[in-house]
Symmetry: C2
Subunit: 205 residues, 2 copies
């Protein structure tokens, strides 16, 4: 039996989450099992259930961490240089998103595999976390939507753009919806942003 005070409850939480994250990164979501995590940390599955209640709890913990990393990636300074045109800021941000998804493929896919699989409602704190993902995009779009009467449209534009880039990203990472030969997802997202923003400007004038 493992020494009872080898780790505090908090230490175990992060130890389990760390290990889970590493397994997914290296071998994909399918390799993430209770027995595997337990083996890697030198405990037994029961301990995972003391801490997280179920595998779902572990999935959520890993996903929250992935969202944090994603938010960090989107805040990279390139997109914050002053005097950068709005459209280019958007292109950079979309690029950062796609880069992140590509470099953290398994973790990024897990974000949505799990969301799709689960039939039960996600906890509110998790939903709130998801909401925060839109903030960087909304910030970039702010100049286009001054005035309170455009608040709804502002939110909508952010979500529409987000969904769209996400859809393109899914094409690339799953490889199931085939890209056009020779066409990069970056070109596709640029094309989308270019025309969508052009349309938005038309409205303003």
């Amino acid at each position: 039996m493992a020494r009872r005070s080898d780790h505090t409850r908090e230490e175990l939480e992060t130890l389990i989450t760390d290990t889970a994250e590493q397994i997914v990164s290296a071998e994909g979501f399918a390799a993430l099992t209770a027995r595997r995590i337990a083996k890697d940390i030198g405990y037994t599955p029961g301990t995972l259930y003391n801490i997280f209640g179920s595998m779902d709890g572990i999935y959520l913990a890993v996903n929250v961490r992935t969202m944090d990393k994603l938010l960090e990636a989107l805040a990279r300074p390139e997109s914050d240089a002053p005097n950068t045109p709005l459209e280019e800021r958007l292109r950079i941000m979309a690029g950062l998103y796609m880069d992140f998804a590509h470099e953290n493929k398994a973790l990024w896919l897990m974000l949505f595999e799990y969301a799709l699989t689960g039939e039960i409602d996600l906890p509110v704190w998790y939903q709130d976390k998801v909401q925060t993902l839109f903030a960087p995009l909304e910030d970039v779009l702010t100049p286009l939507f001054t005035g309170k009467e455009h608040s709804r449209e502002h939110k909508m534009a952010a979500r529409v753009l987000w969904s769209s880039v996400h859809g393109i990203c899914l094409m690339r990472e799953t490889g199931k919806i085939p890209l056009i030969s020779g066409e990069t997802p970056y070109a596709m997202s640029d094309y989308l942003i270019e025309n969508f923003i052009k349309g938005l400007h038309d409205r303003a004038s």
Copy 2:
């Protein structure tokens, strides 16, 4: 033992696919197991493996059928009325897509759950089937891209629009990426199409 000539091999194929489709429709992808299908059709799991080799084969068979039904739905006459402006045709088609996803939620989700889960490459005939899904959208966009030099852009526009509507649709059906309160996915897709097409027209002029 079931009478050996109760069903031909072909009959068994469709019988299994039918049953699998029905189980997913009624109870979701998670309820689709080999033993369950076998029980429903009065055979044993082994028979499924004689016919489809593995559960993957059954997943693919169901998905192909779903894609066929989707293609059929997208070809509904509403979108073919003459003198309909291109933008409205697009809005209708996006609406038909979202309607289909909503009315066949479990089957539609299965299309992507499976694609995400599987690590192995999909068979070519399946990839070809996926390709056909873009055709209706490409057809609608044809007037915007006359001339051979725009062939690539034509394909790209279709895929970008498709991915985008798909992303919005995912928001709605999974409920994980929250929609704005009071904003329908239809409004979002309309907003996307309106501005994207406006941008495309700018280019032309």
